[in-house]
């Protein structure tokens, strides 16, 4: 048994402990992803996905390297552990892993460009909400999929002002 002192790094997640708050981030991992997929020097984008964009299976589109596509998605999904803002877009993009086309790859690149501009985003756990209470929120787009009429829902749970778990699911 060895004592590593205060927690600072756990499974690729960086933790910073300060007097009144704790931060949780994956900036190093995000940098690694950008480097790995050749997006280290790209221009930042403001949104993770074009507003109002409707991705579909795009059967006639030009296919891209599916392995590469799945790799990016896999990496991005691990990043979701500290990035609730990406939960929806990554989840949408991962629906097309079976047969990705240029359109889907462009959507993923948009996510990476957005990541470039927001690489320092982190979760902050503060001491302000002293009452330790679990609060949950959820929403759904009610049949948002144009073909299958299935809904995409999302939820987020806070413990006394600190976001602890979230998900976006079709």
């Amino acid at each position: 048994m060895s004592d590593l002192g205060l927690l600072s790094y756990h499974l690729g997640i960086e933790v910073g402990q300060y007097k009144d708050f704790t931060i949780v981030k994956q900036t190093c991992y995000a940098k690694k992803i950008l480097e790995q997929f050749g997006m280290g020097q790209c221009n930042a984008a403001k949104f993770p996905m074009e507003p109002g964009a409707r991705l579909h299976s795009d059967n006639d589109g030009q296919p891209v390297d599916a392995t590469q596509y799945r790799k990016v998605i896999g990496c991005l999904r691990y990043l979701l552990h500290t990035r609730p803002d990406l939960a929806y877009t990554v989840r949408v993009a991962s629906r097309f892993m079976e047969k990705p086309t240029l359109m889907h790859m462009q959507a993923v690149k948009q996510i990476l460009r957005y990541l470039k501009g927001t690489i320092d985003l982190r979760l902050v756990y503060t001491q302000e909400g002293l009452k330790e209470e679990l609060v949950g929120y959820s929403d759904s787009d009610v049949g948002g999929d144009l073909v299958s009429r299935r809904s995409t829902g999302g939820m987020a749970f806070y413990l006394g002002g600190s976001l602890i778990t979230w998900c976006s699911q079709k």
Binding site: L6, S8, H10, Q17, T126, S162, I164
Partner: protein, 237 residues
């Protein structure tokens, strides 16, 4: 097993570049001749024997010994300078069959949501989050079932070459190694009066109010939170 080139040395002679590739040995035979590697292997065998992992014995009928294999690793600084030659003895656990050689392999680990929950609780209460790490965790797991392994290549006991080794502790590569370790940790924590959380098996709790300690387990990483740092210090042993 594929060979991975580790060091690529460049020798320049008469302006001509010559690329020499050295590979990490994947067996005892390949390692002989390299002092560093044989030393690393000697060290590994010594530590296993010190740990009382196995005992030499005759094979009982109906059991099949599992082969062992060397996995070697070069630890390097970021500038490429070699720090350490590391040799690890692993069992070829893939020959073990479910239902025959073992039954349960499941070992709980803390979900990342749980880790975040623990962090949020600590932040909210103004507690510190400590991090502990268990060295050689898998080698500490105790095996309940009978497992026999062949003698490691190059370290056969003279005159008893056809004997096998009966394991009492786990080795890397065994299918049940993670679970064996988890059971041992579980027993150990229960002895220390920790209670396992019913809905998240990787969380342990002890005490209430000021003396409370909450523990998250991720294989050999322990995340500890508590108000009283003295209590934590005591737990750390």
């Amino acid at each position: 097993m594929k060979h991975i080139s580790v060091i690529e040395l460049m020798y320049y002679s008469d302006g001509e570049a010559l690329l020499v590739e050295m590979e990490k040995p994947t067996s005892y035979q390949e390692a002989t001749g390299y002092v560093e590697w044989t030393k690393a292997m000697d060290k590994e065998i010594q530590s296993i024997e010190k740990n009382k992992t196995w005992k030499l014995c005759q094979l009982t009928v109906g059991h099949r010994p599992i082969g062992l294999k060397w996995v070697s690793k070069l630890k390097k600084y970021s500038d490429g300078e070699v720090v350490k030659h590391k040799a690890k003895l692993v069992a070829k656990g893939y020959v073990q069959k479910k239902g025959v050689d073992f039954d349960e392999v499941f070992a709980p680990v803390a979900r990342l949501d749980t880790v975040r929950l623990i962090l949020a609780m600590a932040a909210n209460r103004g507690w510190q989050v400590h991090h502990l790490d268990v060295k050689l965790a898998f080698l500490r797991g105790e095996l309940e079932e009978e497992v026999y392994v062949k003698q490691p290549e190059g370290y056969e006991v003279k005159g008893k070459e056809n004997h096998v080794l009966r394991l009492s502790k786990a080795l890397y590569g065994l299918r049940r190694a993670p679970r064996a370790w988890n059971l041992r940790l579980d027993r150990c924590l229960k002895k220390l009066k920790f209670k396992r959380c019913a809905s998240e098996q990787a969380v342990y709790i002890r005490g209430e109010g000021k003396n409370a300690i909450i523990l998250g387990v991720y294989v050999d990483d322990l995340i500890v939170i508590g108000e009283d740092s003295a209590e934590i210090g005591e737990f750390k042993r």
